[in-house]
Symmetry: none
DNA sequence: GATGAATGAGTGTTCATTCAT
DNA sequence: CATGAATGAACACTCATTCAT
């Protein structure tokens, strides 16, 4: 058994045991002892590789976020069509990747969200992740929509993606990926369709407060 | 200090202390001792009015849900316009009611969601609430849309509402209610607009699996 | 509902609820709340009729002992034969009376014994009761046996009665009263038989230490 | 202070502290905190070596029973005479061994008996122990008595031993071992004496129940 | 007489963390 | 590197008791 170079192996081992523990009993009941048992190591080792329990949790959250980003990045690299619509589809699909809609991931995300409200370090990670989705969407919408509308479309699509994910996670049933993607696509297309009606610079400016977003003719 | 008939008073007192505690330190660290201290009563009284901590948590969740339902119901009663659009607006506005977008309520909702993944009793409450929103929305959409489209619209709008709420809660900033309502209204109107393009019975039937919801011309 | 003269009724009611509680969960888990619930009264009433929990327990122990004594006394009154053997049989039968070999009584006795090792008030009751059995037996044996032998016979028969009772109680099965009585009768008769071999005053004196009680010829 | 291989040392240490605690305040008041203090260790260590308090109690009961069995076994090995009477004397003496008639042991036994009425795991231990005494006695009586009489003699002697022990324990005074042994010996000899009177098949037959299997020639 | 609201100390148990080996 | 022994504070919960009504 090698005594050197164990760090990355052990860290990954412990992160996966953490996901497993959260899946089984929830973050609140995922004790160091349980995680160590699931990983097949001793209790004390966790302090050795992570400063404390919070360090392990933050690392686990970082891992699950990197999985999400990799899911989007991999799809983007396989892309032949450079259109905004194609890029948006990639983002949508990546967010409903199998790595994100399974039991452990969904339970862990929910637990992280709840924890992030009270732990600054998790909150920072959370905001970065939230912003990345919005930013990616906005960037693509911006290619065909004026800034104000691109922002609103990005906010709406980001919310719709998260909302679909959330309701799917809370349902307790298997996640209906196809249905979620179909609803998100429709929203995307409805927003992209505005590029044909918003062709004058004046309308692209932010409307006054009375606007509720309907097309002017409605 | 009265010694009889304290039950409803104490229960409400303890539920509000629970909300306060969850707001301050999160559900995981909201100990019986803290809640009792915030309520200005002894530890033991909680067992007297709620069977145990879970009972208090479930009661708190029930309270927060009843606030949501009352918010919607009050707006509905004040309604003069019976159109589907007016009813949908009421539902949207009720979900972003001040009782739902303040710190304690948002933190409590997030904590409940995370807990509901591992506590059957909370999960049941959760599902009832989720279904109510979908059901209310679907009912209104159904008045002007064929069943299949009404369902999809309801699913989408429910997800959008929850997603807007979620991203607002996680942002850490004050909730931008106007923006959320504006985005939800737009989605509502885009869905309602379909009633003018889906005017033949054939199209009202459930389309084959290929459908992703784009306007026919796309 | 009369407000006066409730004392004996309530006391009996609470004692019987205590027996019931000890039968169900043991003395250690027989809380005031449980006893009060079984009796159909409020918690606070117990302090009113008994000083505290110890008072209720002592009263319950007194009650169960009085049942034992009544069982013996009733049989003695029905006696037509005044012989020592008849009286001894009455004592044996009384100790295996139905009031003493049912679940609640057996569990309560055992619990009392354990408690009496640490509670002086219960220990006093315990000693009185133990002595009464020995004393009653010795009194009868004395009518036909010299003092030394009467004492030893009484000690042995008292121990045998208690031991049969104890092993029956601990077995968990229904108490085999007939078998217990048969074994006790046999011991009684073996002891009474000594009156025919110990007919000289000298032998009635306490023998030296070597004696183990066998008949001289053994 | 060694940090590995502490398990047997700590377990024994804790068991002895438990006996001490039961002796001082009774099983009901022998809290984890008290036991840990008597053992000179921290509260938490008990969960580390025994699953919970019940585990510690069961281990303590097991220990005290093993002491009893060792007391009998040691005497049996020192035996030169293989007669039934010699073996029976060994069993009697072993049951009144110094390890069984001291304060802590007697109080612990009484507490275990009471607890065994409501704790299945203790009840099982209890029955095994009770049966062992009966079985050992019956086995020796059987060498000289027909089955029915051997069984009755064994039941009687087992009850007498337990009863002598019980009355001695409850008396509160120092245990009079000599007197107890003398009374038990006498019973043993009275039973063994039957071998000379039960030499015809007719008398050997079980009075009501009919014969239960003694050798035809006995 | 009787209730049940209220207390607060005490319970068994869990747990993250430390550290000698 | 890795173990697991050990700690002690914190936890939810129980309970006998008190007392205003």
């Amino acid at each position: 058994m090698p005594k050197v170079g164990m760090q990355p192996i052990r860290r990954q081992q412990l992160i996966e045991a953490t996901l497993q523990a959260v899946d089984q009993v929830g973050l609140g009941d995922a004790s160091i002892a349980l995680i160590a048992r699931l990983a097949g190591v001793s209790n004390g080792i966790i302090s050795h590789y992570f400063q404390d329990k919070n360090g392990l949790i933050a690392a686990t959250m970082g891992y699950i976020m990197s999985m999400l980003n990799e899911g989007v990045a991999a799809r983007r690299q396989a892309l032949t069509d450079d259109s905004p619509r194609a890029h948006l589809k990639v983002i949508i699909e990546g967010n409903f990747d199998a790595s994100q809609v399974n039991g452990p991931a969904m339970k862990t995300w929910l637990a992280f969200w709840a924890s992030s409200m009270h732990q600054p370090s998790l909150h920072r990670l959370q905001r970065i992740n939230d912003h990345r989705l919005y930013s990616n969407l906005c960037c693509q919408f911006r290619r065909v929509l004026p800034l104000y509308h691109a922002r609103k479309a990005a906010r709406g699509l980001a919310a719709l993606i998260d909302g679909l994910w959330l309701r799917g996670a809370l349902s307790g049933d298997a996640f209906d990926t196809d249905q979620a993607i179909r609803i998100a696509y429709e929203y995307m297309d409805l927003q992209l369709a505005k590029q044909h009606t918003l062709d004058t610079p004046d309308q692209a400016a932010e409307p006054p407060r009375t606007a509720t977003g309907q097309p002017a003719g409605a």
